[in-house]
Amino acid sequence: MATDCCGPGYASPGDAIKAAREKLLYTVALYTGTGIQKPDYLATVDADPESPTYSQVIHRLEMPGIGDELHHTGWNACSSCHGDASMSRQYLLLPGVRSNNIYVVDTATDPRAPSLHKVIDGDEIKATTDLSGPHTIHCLGSDIIISFLGDANGEAPGGYLHVDEDFEIVGRWENSMGDIPYGYDFWYQPRHNAMITSEWAAPNTFMPGFDLEEVGHLKYGRRLHVWDFEKREPIQTMYLGEDGLLPLEVKFLHDPDSTHGFCCAALSSNIIHFWKTEDGPWDWEKVVDVENQMHPEWPIPLPGVMSALLVSMDDKYVYVNNWLHGDMRQYDITDPHNPRLTGQVWMGGLLGKAPQVNGVDVAGGPQMFQLSLDGKRLYVTTSLFSTWDNQFFPEIRQKGGVMVMIDCDVENGGMKINEEFMVNFGTEPNGPSRCHETRYPGGDCTSDIWL
């Protein structure tokens, strides 16, 4: 945590690994698309094993209205302003993908019971910046940028919203989108003046659900883009083709000197490795290819749908999911060109390998996850996006989502589902909800960037 001398976060990834264990988790939970006429909310989960309410939702912060579709979240500040003692990691930003609103939540005044600090109005964002469909948030020192997947009419490619430390709209961050057709996730590596962005689709394409035929009509992405971060413009496109259909989460290694990073191509169910070559341009390769699986009731083999990816803080492991198959995987990336499968567990999914976990029916499959800073605890949730959930796992309407904890062996590799931890969002007071992205008050493995 911050000390008297310093701002938020940690001096280095090595310091982050040594931080105190997370005791609270913040997870967004949805009612959008479920039939329950209640707002989406930010759930506080007790992650302190010494607490009597361990593994329970202990607070729910409802959004002001219904229909936001909370999805990803991001901090106002991270280790990128560790040197600025005037900053603190106090506010969590919660974009509504469908409403376009950005909710700024104060998590510091009472960490167990966060409160709504400010709303950046979705209609104002559309009117002033021509953006809709917010997704990923990163802070840049004291400022914040947010990727948006569409223009005000929901058409691609969208762009990047720039807001200041008081959460006022500055305008568009980028100087040019070049010929980028789609946006989604992004990560930057300041020492190399590089940002990498990935491609999902236009909001008007993905919000109503997944029509497979639209992939063939090139309505979904298959590229990664390299940006000149200071000039705020794209400089190189890496065309992934059939190996990289729906490239979603993109992460650099945490080591700020590294140019290596990884992306998961959801529909191809491949891990893509990218890096900067010695000559200057960036290169990529497919390093993991999860084979489609036969399913007794399916006429065609079932793709894994690798929709999320993260890198452990020590840069030793990459974690990925296969939402439709139902497995979480751990790969040793000591040699980033040759990842080695070191752990795998099953929870939910369509292959029937683990319909129950710790006695609870799992609707959906492993989807979004967050790793503790020390790399030993992986918190996994099961909902992808309300309309897509409804297509592939319609029983999630009655059963809701779950959060599972996986114990990870950081020395020898390996994963095991923790039998003491299970948060069942199917039993929430207002009815079954669906949980998605998770963050911790002290920072986590998908927030912090070092300058």
Binding site: T32, G33, T34, G35, Q37, I66, G67, D68, E69, R98, S99, N100, S132, N153, G154, P203, N204, M207, P208, G209, F210, D211, L212, E213, E214, H217, K219, E297, W298, P299, I300, L302, P303, S386, T387, N390, Q391, F392, P394, R397
Partner: protein, 126 residues
């Protein structure tokens, strides 16, 4: 004001008289009907309802594919009534809205209207 009578079949058949020049979602919400919604511009299907009688103008919608349209779905956030209408609303009306895209693919003519090539011109049109 041009009005239309909107009957909601799965809410005890309640009938509401609305301004036909405005989107159904806006007028029905103002009358106290509890309806789901998301984007409010016709780009997502969170508010989708099934039209079982009557006609609407929803030319602004960009979310529904032709199969969903042929099954009677409308998005009330942009749909304006052209006549008296009967609707089924909410997720109870969504039995044919969602399908597993791998098990039940779309035919080319069932894609979203902007992805369906126009029918080849007839001799007369040339």
């Amino acid at each position: 004001m041009h009005t239309a009578a909107i009957t909601i079949a799965n809410r005890d058949g309640a009938t509401h008289v609305v301004d036909a020049g405005r989107p159904l979602l806006d007028t029905l919400l103002e009358l106290g009907v509890d309806l789901p919604y998301g984007c409010r511009y016709g780009g997502c299907i969170t508010c989708a309802a099934k039209l079982t009688a009557g006609e609407v103008n929803q030319e602004e919608q960009v979310a529904l594919n032709n199969r969903q349209l042929n099954n009677g779905y409308i998005v009330p956030c942009v749909a304006r009534p052209l006549s008296d209408c009967t609707l089924e609303v909410g997720v109870d009306s969504h039995d044919k809205l969602y399908r597993n895209p791998f098990l039940d693919p779309l035919e080319p003519h069932e894609l979203k209207p902007n992805l369906v090539p126009p029918a080849s011109p007839t001799t007369k049109d040339r």
